[in-house]
């Protein structure tokens, strides 16, 4: 099956509506040739921080971030025009296709200003979806400034806003750029006004560019050195560096990308990662220019790659502080969070024989993405698969899509869920990330569900809708703040359970796309949760079970059974579809038995034709999953994801 049986392999609208970047910081393949090159640009010496600028680019999808980055690379001679693949930064197939940045990455540009000063510009690219907001925040923390790219024809798009706010929270200097001024529809004045109204940023000095035509590139470079402050740092202080990206390379082990705040990094040094406690000896240092170019040292303000023979990406957590093991810093960088999966789902091969291939594939992905977890799981309906943990729904979709695309697998995904805390009657506490693992009703004393604190930026005109949505999702309002007359910041305590299915999409439609969402885990709270099972002719279809709030159960049960009735084909016997909580049936639908399937014609001895028709009929059955004696098409397992739409 070419498409995901379960979820379409093509980018879904909800994906393209995500901000300018998204996705896990994960790769299977080494991202660049890792053969360490010579140093044609003479970038060996430790730089004077005054000539360093660290910045990222914030833009809505399609507003020209990657094209602008390409022009900067080209203009500074970092990448020759000849070597330039269109959109250099987005070199993963998936990214190219979606036109988005999934991974953070950094590239060093060497820029000679008109006054003759040579600058080291570190362009730090960021993902941007809410699933990865922590990683965005760490990338931004490595910068002193950000270039805000707004399409002069489209104006400010909602998804840009959240990242601009993150940048402003990090006290970054913002360089506004109005791109695509070559388009007939470009309206720089209106776009400028929108930046001021919507974001509250002075855009009077915004630079007009057409990245496509190469217009304004010099002005952008000039503004970067002029408007973005240089980094500060003490070269003599103990090493203090921010780890903001890492990946596994088969030759060098884990490659860490760091921004140095204080001290220096040199080969042979023993380093320690403060949060994980991992110690290692630096083998090599390099800068990404953009291929890895070996250097002798990295000093304050610089961005570079560290190779220290570390085997596990999990030892190199984003946001961790890298310090000197022999002379550790007393002030590790603030803001570190251990990234934990928030959303769990079962991934199953559509065809059982692909189980081994799926195992190999998840192992490989895990090598590069420690935020993705997996363990073997077994479903009566779907056979052998894996229970996987993800940062969020987009992360889940990306992992699934990469598994299907890069490893040629066809997968069935079960409904995403969060992890619940279960207190049993015999005094134990369990963490349950799968409905199948829930103990029997009688053994449960109390259940707790995770809450998150959602922070939503929204134009005031959509505030009412957003509040209504949060209330519907069992949210508890914490505060509303207004910035000016047009924008509000709402924070809500929400059950994660209500977020995992469709909250983000619903939020977007409630605000016509203009709300942005950020969330962080809060705590666990006691709740009246139930496990809703779907029974088909009495047999529980384990892959369709969900844990949800009791108030939701009846509605969901009805919806689910109705959807299933549409998807389960008529069989030679009646099929009863029930939604049940324990033994209590709360919804019931019937798929009537196939009463007649007989076509008599078999003319003139053309048996071959008849046989081929029957074979086609049989082939359709082969792609179904068997529950008891009922054949269920794979789409039906998605029904659970689609209710509520």
């Amino acid at each position: 099956m070419a498409s995901r049986q379960v979820r379409c392999a093509r980018p879904r609208p909800s994906l393209t509506r995500t901000p300018h970047g998204n996705g896990p910081r994960s790769t299977v393949e080494p991202r660049r040739a890792v053969a360490l090159g010579a140093d044609p640009c003479n970038i060996q010496r430790v730089h004077d921080p005054q000539t360093i600028r660290n910045f990222s680019i914030i833009a809505h999808i399609d507003h020209g971030k990657s094209t602008l980055a390409d022009r900067l690379l080209e203009r500074t001679g970092t990448v020759s025009k000849r070597d330039m693949e269109a959109q250099f930064l987005d070199d993963m197939e998936l990214e190219r296709e979606r036109g988005i940045t999934i991974k953070a990455r950094a590239v060093r540009l060497k820029y000679r200003a008109p006054d003759g000063t040579d600058y080291q510009l570190n362009l730090i690219d960021t993902p941007g979806h809410v699933d990865f907001s922590y990683e965005v925040s760490r990338s931004l923390a490595a910068c002193e400034g950000a270039v805000l790219v707004v399409d002069a024809a489209q104006g400010v798009e909602a998804q840009t806003v959240a990242n601009v706010y993150l940048a402003l929270d990090t006290d970054l200097a913002i360089v506004p750029v109005l791109n695509k001024i070559d388009l007939p529809a470009a309206d720089p004045a209106r776009a400028r006004q929108e930046i001021e109204d919507v974001i509250g940023l002075d855009a009077s000095g915004a630079i007009l560019t057409s990245a496509k035509q190469g217009i304004g590139t010099d002005e952008v470079l000039d503004a970067i050195v002029r408007l973005i402050p240089p980094p500060h740092g003490d070269a003599a202080a103990p090493l203090c560096a921010l780890l903001f990206d890492s990946w596994f390379d088969p030759y060098h082990g884990v490659i860490m990308v760091v921004r140095i705040f204080d001290g220096e990094l040199r080969p042979g040094m023993r380093i320690r990662l403060v949060a994980t406690g991992k110690e290692a000896e630096v083998d090599r240092l390099a800068v990404l220019a953009p291929s890895l170019v070996q250097v002798d040292a990295l000093g304050p303000g610089e961005v570079g790659a560290v190779m220290a023979g570390i085997k596990e990406v999990a030892d190199t957590q984003i946001g961790d502080t890298v310090t000197d093991a022999d002379r550790p810093t007393t002030t590790p960088l603030p803001g570190f969070k251990r990234v934990k999966p928030m959303v769990f789902a079962g991934l199953y091969p559509a065809e059982a024989h692909q189980y081994g291939a799926l195992r190999d594939a998840v192992e490989k992905l895990r090598l590069n993405d420690s935020s993705f977890t997996y363990e073997p799981e077994n479903s009566i309906a779907l056979g052998f698969g894996f229970r996987c943990g993800f940062l969020g729904l987009l992360h889940m979709e990306i992992i699934q899509e990469r598994l299907e695309r890069e490893f040629a697998l066809t997968l069935i995904t079960t409904a995403p869920t969060c992890a619940y805390r279960i207190h049993t009657t015999d005094g134990r506490t369990l963490v349950v990330d799968s409905p199948a693992k829930l103990p029997p009703e009688g053994e449960i004393a109390r259940m707790e569900e995770p809450f998150i604190l959602a922070t939503i930026h929204v134009p005031t005109e959509h505030l009412g809708n957003v509040i209504a949505l949060c209330e519907e999702k069992r949210g508890k309002q914490r505060e509303i703040k207004f910035s000016g007359e047009k924008r509000a910041l709402v924070s809500y305590e929400l059950p994660l359970n209500e977020i995992v299915l469709d909250f983000y999409d619903r939020l977007k439609s409630a605000s016509r796309g203009y709300a942005s969402l950020d969330y962080e885990p809060l705590d666990f709270r006691t709740s009246t949760l139930v496990k809703l099972d779907v029974r088909i002719n009495g047999d529980i279809v384990d892959a369709l079970s969900v844990i949800l709030h009791s108030e939701r159960a009846y509605y969901r049960g009805r919806e689910l059974t109705q959807k299933m009735r549409e998807l389960v084909p008529r069989q030679m016997f009646e099929v009863v579809i029930q939604a049940a909580i324990g033994t209590k049936v709360i919804a019931r639908e019937t798929v009537k038995a196939l009463r007649k399937n007989v076509t008599a014609k078999c003319y003139g001895g053309d048996i071959t034709r008849k046989r081929k028709l029957l074979e086609r009929q049989k082939e359709g059955k082969r792609r179904m999953k068997q529950v008891g004696r009922v054949e269920i098409p794979q789409e039906a397992f998605l029904a659970v994801l689609k209710v509520g739409e």
């Binding site: 196939l594 009463r595 399937n597 007989v598 076509t599 003139g604 008849k610 046989r611 049989k618």
Partner: protein, 392 residues
């Protein structure tokens, strides 16, 4: 087929002969048979090609000693051919082949096109069974079906057949035609019984890809009957024919005792058959697990092929799996079912081992054991295609 191939036909030298006449006055919009509307046709040239093809087969060692138990002229509309042509063909067959004394020799005829005066000629040529495509007695349904005859034509044709001396006549009916009511079908069944044929075929209309009906349904211009109506019509016909003394011996076929279509039964029972003519299909039960082949479909290309030494367009050697599946889904079309002993004898393995799904069907009441044979149950009959598919 190479002339040097030698095999016995697997059925004691008995075989059937199918002769395809691909021409019609008009092409019905539901029909996907290999037929072509024509106002004139190369009757002699085509008959010569048939005889040439037949002669080539007769010379093959594999077909030496074969006795033809049945001969069937199908189409198209074989009754468009003159009785003299049919006589010439039957003479040609008899000259080169051994034809059983009691051989069933059927000719398909259209009530609207047949020249009733010809029927006696066909009888005189040796045809002893007629099959009329009546389809319906309702003028509006005949129009929907694109038939160019009337209900009166059908009745007159049958009367003429009797006069000509035919005592074995089949009438075809079609049900589940768009616009057809249950009452209209009941009326068709009653009218048909009033004609008192020896044999009835009642076909559920199907929408075959490539036909106008298929396209019209796709565009919503034809609305198929609800399943419940189709089911009612089938059940009504089964009951009415049974009451009138016709035994249902196959999914769509009913006959007075002893008047089953032997030629068609041959298909279900794995009897070897030679098909001659444009697009005709043939089957040999040996060598191996059997072979199927078919001719060029376009009449001109068929005739050119025969002239050039062979008109076979496709050929298939059956695998064990295919042959055992065919045994089941063909044999189960007959209500008497399949004989497990015959299965084991042909395939050197017990039926239950080769087709373990039989047990589940038994449990579900879709297959039953009846008189030592395995057959579709009442309920299995209604979902026969679903049952058949499981054997593949």
């Amino acid at each position: 087929m190479s002339a040097t191939t030698t095999f016995d036909l697997g059925h004691g030298g008995a075989a059937s002969l199918y002769v395809h006449i691909p021409y019609c006055h008009a092409k019905c919009p539901y029909c996907d048979f290999n037929s072509y509307a024509a106002t004139e046709w190369p009757e002699e040239r085509y008959a010569d090609a048939l005889l040439a093809e037949l002669a080539a087969y007769a010379d093959m060692p594999a077909w030496q000693g074969t006795t033809l138990a049945t001969i069937f002229f199908g189409g198209g509309t074989p009754s468009l051919f003159r009785p003299a042509t049919i006589a010439c063909l039957l003479d040609g067959i008899a000259a080169r082949w051994s034809v059983a004394a009691e051989a069933e020799i059927t000719l398909e005829a259209n009530p609207g096109t047949v020249e009733r005066t010809r029927l006696a000629g066909f009888r005189g040529a040796g045809v002893n069974r007629l099959s009329f495509g009546v389809q319906s007695f309702q003028p509006d349904l005949l129009r929907t079906l694109g038939r160019i005859h009337s209900a009166d034509d059908a009745r007159a044709a049958l009367a003429a057949a009797r006069t000509a001396g035919f005592d074995n006549v089949n009438l075809d009916l079609i049900f589940a035609v768009p616009g057809q009511t249950r009452a209209a079908w009941a009326a068709d069944v009653a009218e048909l019984l009033a004609c008192a044929p020896e044999h009835v075929s009642a076909y559920n209309l199907t929408y075959e890809p490539g036909t106008p009906f298929h396209a019209w349904r796709g565009r919503g211009e034809l609305v198929p009957l609800p399943e419940d109506d189709e089911l009612w019509m089938y059940e009504h016909a089964r009951a009415a024919f049974a009451r009138a003394g016709y035994e249902q011996y196959e999914i769509s076929n009913f006959a007075r005792p002893g008047r089953e279509a032997q030629h068609n039964c041959g298909y279900w029972r794995g009897v070897a058959y030679l098909g001659i003519g444009a697009g005709a299909h043939s089957y040999a039960a040996a060598p191996g697990w059997g072979e199927r082949w078919s001719n060029e479909r376009i009449p001109e290309r068929y005739m050119a092929g025969v002239a050039a030494g062979g008109a076979v367009a496709s050929h298939e050697t059956l695998s064990f799996d295919t042959a055992t599946a065919e045994f089941m889904f063909l044999g189960l079309r007959e209500l008497r079912g399949v004989d497990p002993v015959a299965f084991a004898a042909r395939f050197h393995a017990p039926l239950e081992t080769v087709h373990p799904e039989v047990e589940a069907f038994r449990r579900d009441g879709l297959l039953v054991d009846r008189g030592g044979r395995l057959a579709l149950s009442e309920r299995g009959l209604l979902v026969a295609d679903s049952v058949f598919a499981m054997f593949l």
